[in-house]
Symmetry: C2
Subunit: 389 residues, 2 copies
């Protein structure tokens, strides 16, 4: 005796590109919020990354002015400023602040929470929005390279718990994502650069042509050419979203997770450095490590390995961090190796690590040899000297 339940849910959202989102003449945000129509004015609550607000102190008044000019949207409450960066995910403090405005301002499942900031803030606010009243409409406005081209356009959210990255979270597609390129102009050097590692990642596993474009435009990108960056963000976001929808596994029920190429070591390095190394910087080192590993394992030839490491270096990334080695500096850090098991545990099931065999082509391995990991780390020590700048 049994009953089978079976249904499908269609998820659809747009990733919209604009500049000067809160200029009074820009209709985009108003159009997105009111697209389903409503008799009454629609309530919105803004949550803003403190780092962004410090750089752009006029932002709140621009937002308030923008909303006051629209007929069909209303501020539910004054914008909430939350701490930015990984700290926003490390305790439940900022998270509960977001839940509190939902409660206090009576934000319901037809109202909107709009998050403006870097990837960590978007992850945290996205998670709060996804579980308050079982899910409130949520718009992401990513303001860093990393969040505009990668984390902000995807379907994951979360906070850290028990000291573990993204221990709590879920898969919850946003209502919309709006990439305003002008936010990138006030980024500091590290944030401008660090998001580009995800573009290299997605090029390596998906698209040779994009890799060639990155090689050609490395100098323009380093020199903060906004048009080059717009192309990088758009193409990277497109490859990322195509992967999600074409993977047959958007909510990652299986063990394979190619978009996490280079991430097992990156996650561990962020943890070991107490997030002093930024995610994008850690991903660059993680990519470098797995590329060097692929060379030692015989998956990649030496010229291709060098070419990839050179691109990372040309874009300004360090390829090495001292914590890849133990305190004596003569052996691989045993803590780093533990990152493999933690990565497996978070994914669940069998250990599955994405490897690259040609630029733009990936495959999966199910174990990593610690001897080759050690060799890969020492390759990075050598290359660090070669590309020192």
């Amino acid at each position: 005796m049994k009953i089978n339940q079976n249904f499908s849910i269609n998820y659809t959202y747009d990733i919209l590109f604009t500049r000067e989102l809160f200029a009074p003449s820009n209709p985009l945000l108003n159009d997105v919020i009111t697209k389903n129509g409503s008799d009454k004015a629609i309530k919105i609550a803004f949550v803003i990354d403190k780092g962004l607000n410090d750089c752009q102190p006029e932002l709140i008044s621009k937002i308030e002015n923008y909303v006051s000019k629209q007929e069909k949207i209303n501020m539910a409450c004054p914008p909430l400023i939350v701490i930015g960066g990984e700290e926003t995910k490390n305790s439940t403090e900022e998270f509960v602040k977001v839940l509190s405005i939902v409660n206090d301002a009576k934000i319901d499942r037809h109202a909107f929470v709009v998050a403006i900031g870097g990837g960590a803030v978007l992850d945290m606010v996205g998670f709060a929005s996804a579980i308050a009243h079982r899910g409130i409409r949520h718009i992401r406005i990513p303001t860093t390279v990393l969040s505009q081209n990668d984390s902000g356009v995807g379907v994951k959210n979360g906070i850290n718990y028990f000291g573990k990255k993204n221990f709590l979270g879920n898969f919850a597609p946003p209502f919309a994502v709006i990439n305003d390129l002008t936010f990138l102009t006030t980024l500091d050097e590290r944030d401008w650069r660090s998001g580009m590692s995800e573009a290299i990642k997605v090029a390596l596993i998906k698209n040779q042509e994009f890799f060639l474009w990155l090689e050609k435009n490395a100098i323009a990108l380093s020199n903060r050419d906004l048009d080059a960056m717009e192309k990088l963000v758009f193409d990277c976001a497109q490859l990322h979203t195509d992967h999600i929808s074409n993977s047959n596994d958007p909510f990652e029920m299986g063990s394979s997770r190619p978009l996490d190429f280079g991430h097992w070591a990156a996650h561990k390095l962020e943890q070991l450095t107490k997030f002093e190394v930024k995610h994008g910087e850690a991903v660059a080192i993680g990519i470098a490590l797995d590329i060097a590993y692929a060379m030692h394992a015989g998956f990649l030839d030496t010229p291709t390995t060098d070419r990839i490491l050179k691109l990372l270096s040309d874009l300004g990334f360090s390829l090495f961090h001292p914590l890849l080695l133990d305190p004596t500096g003569t052996k691989v850090n045993p803590e780093l190796i533990k990152g493999l098991e933690e990565f497996r545990e978070h994914l669940g099931g069998e250990l599955t690590i994405t490897m690259v065999e040609k630029i733009g082509e990936k495959f999966d391995v199910h174990e990593m040899n610690s001897e080759w990991i050690e060799k890969a780390v020492f390759t990075l020590v050598e290359k660090k000297e070669m590309y020192a700048y």
Copy 2:
């Protein structure tokens, strides 16, 4: 310039009926857990409702014995006992205990959390499972009439927060639901009876035939006939799951929520009585109130109204609670009326209340007249005398 993201997720799970689930010869649980195959033994963590464990002190050893006899499944940790009833959802204490075993026993996205208990425990454990590592496989084993026929077979989970029912939660279909009818034999009178209100509800809005069957079998059901109860649970669960899959809105993005017929007043009454009135009992009163309202509004004729109230009463439900009136007992309790706005807020959008115009046929209204609510309350005062027992 925009990118459109678009994908669908198919959700499928079985609601399986059995008796004596943990008898060594019953293959069901083992078959469900191992159905996807695995080279290694699969980890399971059990979370058990304290109320059930108190009634069935041999349960844990039966479970341990059952699991020890299976080749491909392993206990991840000793079973966790959690407080049952609404208390389990009222603070984050029990919730964090569930998250802790996931962390401590390294339960990953391919391992299982199995919850055994009443609806509140299933809601709480289901929510913890849905957000730890962005979702762990979760099996629900409901042990009350209410959870076997209604809450346990659906897609919602949650805990209370800010003093509000289900303020935190999400939509997360379980891996499977297993209804073991033998669990119902140790229920106390109130729990045996109270779950039947959801069966009356779903009959009223969906299926006249089921209503007629309930009328015919009211005495057998009251007398704890297990075969009659099995039929009630199966048909109610079937109507409930059919509604979810045929509604075009399984995750309730719209404002209409017919399965919440009778629930606006029920939620408020649970809150006003500090959950001393059980959910099923409150739903019976909520149904009675909305049926009496429908009569005063001219939607339902008096004989049909009486027939519905009589069935509720025959199954042993009270139709009235003193907190429907204010302290003077002469007017409707103004707190009750506030329940309408709270209900609207939790659903979001426009107030949408399901009404019945014939047995088995529903429609929506978007306002409720407080004069008719008052009349309906006083109708219940009269009927309470009529059906006093």
